[in-house]
């Protein structure tokens, strides 16, 4: 008998990756009703949950873009272990259009990096949380059309999954128009930030352990005002 495991090397020992961009509204209004504090706590829950799962810990990569006073990558893609949940402060308006654009760029750059390094990857996620409406675009203008097209084509061509979560008093009508009909925005119960992030980490844990051809059933949404 020959121990073949001893004589072979593995071509690609890297884990497959699932990249998620958290697109977080930190405009002035998020300071009302303790929203920003709950969001900050939610980010810690998110890290704790992912890190506890053996596969997800190795596979989930997270980046954070905030939009308020400015659009800022406050955390570029890293493993969950290297992710230090930030303490977000609020200020300014809601430049949602530029923030979504930045998320697209970040996702494409990350995919390119994976491709160059020969790393397998799952379909990336863009996960947006907002309590307002965009102040850098409105339905009908050029920026709006560009962003809406990017979201819709991106989803249809399976470039990413786009989720939007609306916190009161977000403009649901605008978010509905921006999203795809089969992945509409979900309205968050104001006290359910923790449950929202728990759902996000559970979903990413399911995705990161999925294998070829597997339809991933996401956990049921227990944090929404209206179940869709």
């Amino acid at each position: 008998m020959t121990d073949l495991a001893k004589i072979i090397d593995i071509a690609n020992p890297e884990e497959s990756k699932v990249a998620v961009v958290l697109l977080l509204d930190n405009s002035g209004s998020m300071s009302e009703n303790d929203k920003i504090n709950q969001l900050n706590k939610g980010l810690k829950t998110f890290k704790e949950d992912i890190i506890e799962n053996d596969l997800a810990r190795k596979r989930v990569e997270v980046a954070i873009i905030t939009f308020g006073d400015e659009v800022k990558i406050i955390h570029d893609f890293s493993s969950i272990e290297q992710f230090e949940p930030p303490y977000l402060k609020t200020d300014g308006l809601t430049p949602m259009g530029d923030a979504i654009l930045k998320a697209f760029e970040l996702i494409e750059e990350r995919k390119e990096k994976y491709r160059k390094s020969g790393i397998n990857y799952y379909r990336p996620w863009i996960f947006m949380i907002t309590d307002g409406e965009p102040t850098d675009m409105e339905p009908g203008d050029k920026q709006w059309e560009t962003i809406k097209k990017l979201v819709h084509i991106g989803e249809e061509e399976k470039k990413f999954l786009f989720f939007s979560v609306a916190v009161n008093p977000a403009n649901m009508e605008i978010l509905n128009e921006l999203s795809l009909p089969d992945r509409p925005p979900v309205k968050l119960k104001i006290t359910k930030f923790k449950e929202l992030f728990k759902w996000l980490s559970d979903s990413l844990i399911s995705v990161s352990s999925s294998k070829v051809g597997e339809q991933v059933a996401l956990p049921s949404i227990g944090w929404a005002e209206i179940s869709i």
Partner: protein
């Protein structure tokens, strides 16, 4: 491209009946005769933990005139009957190839046509099985790789991921690539609506050794750099070298099983794994 083999002089003296006779007498497959084929499917750690059956299947046989057939299949993820789909698909493809050679012989046989027919037949059998089980065809979703070997020439019919890698003139070559998909958990199976558009037929000659494997071994054997798949010498060279020197085919099969369930392979992929080697030239 069609591989015309009717002009190739048949030089193999042994036939399946003769080989079967030797086997019943407890005599091993004569290793000086080629092709020598061995390998197996094993359950992956993730399915073992969840008490799910192995969804990979493989079947290989030596036919008359030194013709070798290898068929492997990978039942898809959480699809409920994909283990049945994979088993049915490999058996159907092998049976079809045997039937073709039995009725038409080797004269005038076109290997490319034969592997294509085998894939079509496997699809037909899956449709029948879905009716029989009263389930959706998608519940039997699986990939398929059909390989027919004659002398140092092979033809491959392939839908989905997994690959066929060969050693030709001391160099590794991918004869059949994994199906294109951007994401790691996506694949077009034999049961999809436009499956025939995704059927890839390929072939090659002057082959010394080849390996046929499912997705579970893909990260171990292939690298994808700048969107181009490349076979990895560190993986295949030692295995092909070993394959050329085996003394006992049962032990060799067990060695492959031990490799597939080893910590090194399990750590690399938690999926079910199939790996079959054929030595075409001693």
């Amino acid at each position: 491209m069609i591989n015309p083999i009717n002009t190739v002089k048949i030089c193999h003296a042994f036939c399946k009946g003769f080989w079967k006779h030797l086997m019943t007498k407890g005599i091993e497959h004569p290793l000086h005769l080629v092709p020598i084929i061995f390998g197996s499917s094993v359950i992956g750690p993730s399915h073992e933990k969840k008490n799910i059956k192995c969804q990979d299947a493989c079947c290989y046989e030596l036919l008359n005139h030194g013709i070798g057939v290898i068929v492997v299949s990978d039942g898809l993820g959480s699809v409920k009957n994909s283990d049945i789909g994979a088993t049915e698909a490999v058996n159907a493809a092998v049976n079809k190839i045997k039937e073709i050679f039995n009725t038409k012989g080797i004269e005038g046989a076109h290997l490319d046509n034969i592997v294509e027919n085998a894939v079509f037949y496997a699809r037909q059998i899956l449709e029948q099985k879905a009716d029989e089980l009263q389930c959706n065809l998608q519940d039997l979703a699986c990939t398929i790789i059909v390989v027919v070997i004659y002398q140092d020439t092979v033809s491959v019919g392939h839908i989905g991921d997994g690959a066929v890698v060969a050693k030709i003139k001391d160099k590794l070559k991918i004869i059949s690539y994994p199906g294109e998909s951007e994401y790691v958990n996506e694949v077009v199976p034999l049961t999809s609506k436009d499956w025939d558009k995704h059927l890839r037929i390929s072939g090659s000659s002057e082959i010394e050794c080849l390996a046929v494997f499912t997705d579970g071994c893909q990260k171990a054997g292939l690298k994808k750099m700048e969107n181009i798949w490349k076979p990895y010498n560190g993986f295949f060279d030692p295995l092909f070298l070993y394959a050329k020197e085996i003394k006992n085919i049962k032990e060799a099969k067990q060695d492959i099983i031990n490799l597939l369930i080893s910590e090194k392979m399990s750590k690399n992929s938690e999926d079910d794994k199939t790996f079959v080697i054929a030595v075409l030239k001693n």
